[in-house]
């Protein structure tokens, strides 16, 4: 039987085909990898190509402007409109300048605040570190526009009609327009949200900078500031760089805050202009703008990686801390502590109090005690109040949206958990192979799509059926799909990390003992990666619940979720309803994030010894 010549048979020979089939069967990571690659190409790359195609061809909605155009024919019409016509100033150049201004100022402020807080928390002996640590990341869990709603409760003026804010109620004066609306409040409220990203990234990196490195500098005669400049800062640069890029891209794609605070004074950014164009049925414009946004995002990532250099790995958010040197603040210890407390009051307590208060006022704009009511929580509906819309617990629309939000959170968490684990498995077990590299790259690709742009892409793709896939526009499925895809960079990283910590031999030992793939997955891989994956799933749940920018273009009455409902109430100037629903959303998120904290702590302590 054993053949003397053991050379390879011809590629198309029966032996070779059966051999390759056998091989594939024995390599589950290959099969999973191929399936995942196919699926992700379909939901990430195809939509991108689709909107590029749509942006460069005549669409039926263009015929109003171009009676001679043939649908489907190549045209530069959309590009011309966006870049080179009188309308371009309003359509493209102003939103561009506004977006860049907004991005620049928010990033500068958020980074400064985040860096200072990270330094205080990691490197000094400021008081109450435990409580502060939990509270400082609180805004990170919230929808980014909660602060904007709170801002309106404070500073709303008579510009758009309806009620006025707390400032007017107390002082009798109107807040000027530039305080109430436009760039200034947008920058302030976004910065007070996005500092948390910078804080998380930089404190994580600071915690892994070994004090010994600095002490080595000290023993070679460097002064304190020189040590910071020469040793600490260069080590922090990757984290700072990625904090800048992360913040900037998210701000470019964010919709809620610029919509709430910018639209009343016709202050347009890219995201709100895309929204406006889609609503005006000028999808071609929206697609071109979305493409520009993606190009911008890619450029920032590229510039960042060029500046930071080869160390392009992003610092992990959960760097394991070790005992490090804390400098004594001396007389400044209490002032610094009070500063953090005040900061937390402003970013955490104040918005929530304002939301609660607003939700309890009967007549909007009257903040006196006698005007307090629980009507908007428990009222049955009254034609004289808020268009007869019933209070939260009797409101079918709100309860439906709540159920949808929870469903969306669950579905996204579940699919993301499974997909992340499978992608992690295929990437780690196939390490060194091209398939593994491709898969890792494509799972990371949604990161470069600003949320609103991804939403625009999905409108373009799923408004008609593609092969066996039916038209998904307006369905609940499309919300799940886009949420899963947008979260994939995060969950696939969680999955990769979880699989990496399971030594390959643990699975091989089972293989050799005759245990098949499914049993290996369920008895060994899943139990051992569970804690990390579940924590990742809960975070996905939170992200899905609070998401607005991503799905604003895709929601309709048929698939309404809480965030969309809040935005609708806010647009109709129903401040009590929007505040009450926001508060409800925030409470759900707080509960889940407490569970996450408890879980990841117990997972950290109970880490099983695998050697």
């Amino acid at each position: 039987m054993a053949m003397a010549d053991s050379g390879k048979p011809a590629f198309w020979s029966l032996q070779n085909i059966s051999y390759q089939a056998y091989r594939l069967k024995n390599r589950p990571e290959l099969i999973i990898g191929l399936l995942a690659l196919g699926f992700l190409s379909f939901v990430v790359l195809v939509p991108l190509l689709q909107i590029i195609k749509d942006a460069f061809t005549f669409q039926s909605y263009d015929l109003a402007y171009n009676p001679d155009g043939v649908v489907g024919e190549f045209t530069l019409f959309h590009l011309d409109r966006v870049f080179n016509q009188p309308i371009s100033a309003a359509l493209f150049y102003k939103p561009l300048v506004n977006s860049l201004k907004m991005g620049f100022f928010v990033t500068v402020i958020a980074l400064t605040v985040g860096f200072s807080l990270a330094w205080l928390m990691v490197r000094t002996n400021v008081h109450f570190k435990g409580v502060f640590g939990a509270m400082l990341v609180f805004p990170y869990m919230m929808p980014s526009w909660v602060m904007a709603i709170a801002w309106l409760s404070l500073f709303k003026n008579d510009r758009v009609g309806g009620s006025e804010g707390l400032l007017t109620y107390w002082t009798g004066t109107q807040a000027p327009d530039w305080v109430a609306y436009g760039l200034f409040p947008i920058v302030i409220t976004l910065a007070l949200h996005y500092y948390a990203y910078a804080y998380l990234l930089i404190s994580g990196a600071l915690a892994t900078v070994d004090s010994e490195l600095e002490e080595a500098g000290a023993t070679s005669g460097m002064g304190k500031w020189k040590r910071i400049r020469v040793i600490t800062m260069p080590l922090l640069m990757p984290a700072i760089g990625s904090a800048i890029v992360l913040t900037f891209i998210r701000i470019l794609g964010t919709f809620g805050t610029p919509a709430l605070l910018g639209l009343p004074v016709r202050f347009f950014t890219f995201s709100t202009q895309i929204y406006a164009s889609i609503n005006a049925r000028n999808q071609g414009d929206a697609f071109v703008l979305a493409l520009v946004l993606i190009v911008l995002a890619i450029s920032f990532i590229w510039i960042n990686s060029r500046i930071i250099g080869v160390r392009k790995s992003y610092v992990t958010m959960t760097g394991k801390g070790f005992r490090k040197h804390e400098s004594d603040l001396g007389k400044l210890r209490w002032p610094a502590t009070v500063f953090v407390i005040l900061f937390l009051c402003m970013t955490v307590a104040l918005p929530l109090i304002l939301l609660l208060w607003e939700s309890l006022t009967l007549i909007p704009g009257d903040y006196s005690l006698s005007n307090l009511t629980t009507y908007f929580w428990v009222g049955q509906g009254n034609v004289n109040l808020a268009y007869g819309e019933p209070g939260v617990i009797h409101n079918k629309g709100i309860m439906g949206a709540l159920i949808n939000s929870i469903k969306l959170g669950f579905a996204a968490a579940l699919f993301n958990g499974v997909l992340g684990l499978l992608v992690g498995y295929a990437v780690v077990r196939g390490r060194g192979k091209r398939l593994s590299q491709w898969l890792e790259a494509i799972a990371f690709a949604p990161y470069i799509f600003p949320s609103i742009a991804l939403g625009a892409i999905y409108i373009g793709m799923f408004s008609t059926s593609i092969g066996p896939v039916p038209a998904l526009y307006g369905t609940f499925t499309i919300l799940i799909l886009i949420t899963v895809i947008k979260n994939l960079p995060f969950t696939s990283r969680t999955g990769i990390a979880a699989i990496l910590q399971i030594h390959q031999s643990l699975e091989e030992a089972a293989r050799v003992q005759g245990i098949g793939w499914f049993r290996r997955m369920f008895r060994i891989i899943i139990p051992l990666s569970m804690s990390g994956v579940v924590a990742g799933m809960l975070l996905t749940f939170i992200t899905a619940m609070r998401e607005l920018s991503l799905i604003i273009l895709l929601i309709s009455p048929g698939n309404m979720v809480l965030t969309g409902l809040i935005f609708g109430y806010q647009e109709q100037d129903m401040a009590q309803h929007s505040s009450a629903v926001t508060l409800m959303l925030v409470l759900i998120i707080i509960i889940i994030s407490v569970i996450v904290r408890v879980m990841s702590r117990s997972a950290g302590v109970g880490r099983l010894n695998t050697t």
Binding site: M1, H503, V512
Partner: protein, 363 residues
Amino acid sequence: MGQIRLDGIVKSYGKEVVVKNLDLTVQPGEFLTILGPSGCGKTTTLRMIAGLEEPDQGNIQLGERVVFSRADGVVIPPEARRLGLIFQSYALWPHMTVAKNITLALKEQNISKADIARRLENALEMVQLTGYAGRYPSELSGGQQQRVAVARLIALRPSILLMDEPLSNLDAKLRTEMRASLKRLHRDLEATTVYVTHDQIEALTLSDRVIIMNDGRIMQEGSPYDIYHHPANIFVAEFIGDPGINLFNGTIANGVLDCGAVSIPLPDAIARHGGDLIAGIRPEKMHVSETAKDGWLKARTEILQPTGANTIVEVKVGDTPITLMQPGFMTLPAGTELWLQFDPESLSFFDTDTQENLRNKVG
């Protein structure tokens, strides 16, 4: 019973060929050790037998069964090869108790519950871990974890046993103990065993037969005795033995090997070879005298390393360094004069160009 047969196995990672046309047969019940420096392809070979790696070419046969044939398009996955493998890291599942670790694979087969319980008890007893069934691996010492890995194999009763450096994570004392228990395991299971290590002591003490690999090729195969006493080439001569073999480069002149300060007597068969040669002798095979003897080489001690039972003595004859190993605990001052004599029977001779052992060829 399990014979293992490898024919023409080639394996490469990218452009680097790590196993080069390997032929290997392990007889039923034999204990074979593959010994070699790290990166020589020994672990890859073992993993190919287990099915965890796929050869690029060649055939692998376990017992009567072809489990891999590139030419015939056969690939049997590891889960169907029915063999036992002990990993360097033990590969115990940290989230399962000792009992679960041992019985998980048994539950996969059609074995009655009572039988599984009996096998578990029996396996634990054999590795002296009775009463540890409810523990988790993290609650056991390194040696105990190792024994659980062994018990897991015992319970499965494979007819082929593969071990990948199973002792390298243990401290020196435990290693000696575990060596004995692995030998017992092999005897009790009567399994065909392939053992991979870079530790020559393990290879020499455990094996029926040793294969020395280097750079993806077999350098020599033979009994531990042969490997030690009749190294096939300079690589094997230098790799085996601690302290290492003494090698002398020289030219044949007048029936002796002239190596400068040292001249080595040659048997006739070797002397006829003519030209350049390398002679080798193990440190413990040199005759040593503390008093002057006629015709012996005069040497001066440089460094002494008493290890307890033996003493490693580094000396110089003129400028030529020689390492000796003498029984007993020696405490000579440096610079002491010693007299040395080569034992003609213990000398090996190697071709300077091919590095092959000449005596093996000559007969």
